[in-house]
Amino acid sequence: MATDTLTAVQQEYEIVIGLEVHTQLLTDSKMFCSCNTHYANDEANTHICPVCMGMPGVLPVINKQAVDFTFMVGLALNCSIPELAKFDRKNYFYPDLPKGYQISQYDMPFCVNGSLEITVNGAIKKIGVTRAHLEEDTGRLVHSANNWGEGYSLVDWNRAGIPLLEIVSEPDMRSPEEARLYMQKLRSILVNLGVSSGKMEEGSLRCDANISLRKHGETKLGVKTEIKNMNSFRAVQRALEYEAQRQMEVLSNGGVIVQETRGWVETRGVTVSQRVKEYADDYRYFPEPDLPHIEVARNWVEGIRSQMPELPDARRDRFIRDYALPIGDAELLAGDRAIAHYFEDTTAALQGDDIAGRARLAANWVMGDLSRLLNASETEISNCPISAPHLAALIDAVTQGKITGKQAKDILERAYQTHESPDAIIQREGIASVSDTAAIEAFVQEAVTTNPKAVADYQKGKGNAVQFLIGQVMRLSKGSAKPDVVQPILIAALDKLAQ
């Protein structure tokens, strides 16, 4: 949808969005049984047992690691951790739910009243987190048809019982962009904590959104719809942009919004109404009789807090403080733990006393040329063929005038492809910047002779003619001349011609 259509919605209405995010937790065994969670490459139904299948007479036992992970997330989201928590049964019938109920948490979740900060247009905005609670994932349905075209479904319960953390936000987001930023920030926190693989495309991280419109100044919330099936950050933003526009059309034609679940259809770029499973009241939650309460001693929580790794926001603030990075760069570099480490390692390995200067160089190379190479080859920075010290040596060679920036970019790209160290390429091929005045004068002479029009332009006072001629000299030197050395020699030559 075009941005101007969204602007039209926002002129008349305030968009109100809240998100429910589910993430699988990276435990080795399931939430309430010992089945192995690493089922991705295995046959259907090879990771199931009497407990996760809900056979009569079995008893679930809580996986402590999943609870620890939940507290880590709660603390990272500035939540309160109540001293008493319990599990409840959420009852409904669906083939992907082998027990006929899902063990979840209803009125006494592990984490409540938190918040998360997003950066919107350079300003920090706080989004409330209502609660985070632990539950179990369902199985997976595959749809099929027989030779007569009659549809049926196949069920794989390998996923049933995987620990699932649900994080519910307050309806604090005011645009689809804010919803996407919240989702990206939350993913960054979860992945940094090492509790989630964060893969939206594979469904290990999922997002449902509640969205409604209301007239500006209205304090009562409008009727909301719930949007599902958004499998990427981009889909979150696009689906909500579409839905905001759809709701506005309904309202401005005098219609009313029906509270319903709608699915995002990526290929068509629309949301469509989905069949309702049950009404919320009909889940008939009741306390899980097979699981005792959990008393959360304060030293348990403090023990978790003391083991927490540095989080993106704290790291961003540290990068601004210690390296004087602008907030945008700091946010970008701090968001991913591996990228942050690479940046810091590069900065540390660079020569010179000016930390801010070194950090700026490292940030530019890591976010610029290196990121481009990594993205193009779909490589994680942890598998980068060029180590941080090697990148630092390359940057140092530019700073010291041994090679030009242009040469460095070429060497980086070649070293990236061949897995050699940049230094080895420089040594072997004897690459060095040309600062030899005689050689540059020859190139300048050639550029001036072969480009009389540019020379004439210069004499008429057109400043950009100089840039053009410097470019010609660079080209003739195959990038080995340094522009700041070329410029005075070129201007001297041009001025001499004018006399």
């Binding site: 192995n36 139904n45 809580i62």
Partner: protein
């Protein structure tokens, strides 16, 4: 409080139970009686009484996160009415 016929039918539908007309009538009165008992209990002042959703004398029963082998596939799917390869086969379900 008296449950209506529709309310009984709705509860039966949620529990996937088929009821005859006679059963609906008799269940309406039985369930109404049960709700009456609950309503009477709810009149008791329980402020200051600790929650008793669990009557178990234990808390914090947990296990370490260690994976163990699951069931062999034929045992795991032994109760499945219809099977196709390694999957359980069910009526078409729309996502």
């Amino acid at each position: 409080m008296e449950l209506t016929r529709d309310e009984v039918m709705r509860i039966a539908q949620l529990a996937r139970i088929k009821l005859t007309e006679e059963e609906v009538t008799s269940l309406a009165s039985q369930l109404s009686n049960i709700l009456g008992h609950i309503a009477a209990m709810q009149e008791v002042d329980t402020s200051g009484v600790p929650i008793s959703a669990s009557i178990l004398p234990v808390t914090n029963v947990m296990r370490e996160d260690a994976a163990e082998p699951s069931l062999p596939i034929d045992e795991a799917l032994a109760n499945t009415p219809e099977r196709e390869d390694n999957f359980a086969r069910v009526k078409a379900v729309l996502e």
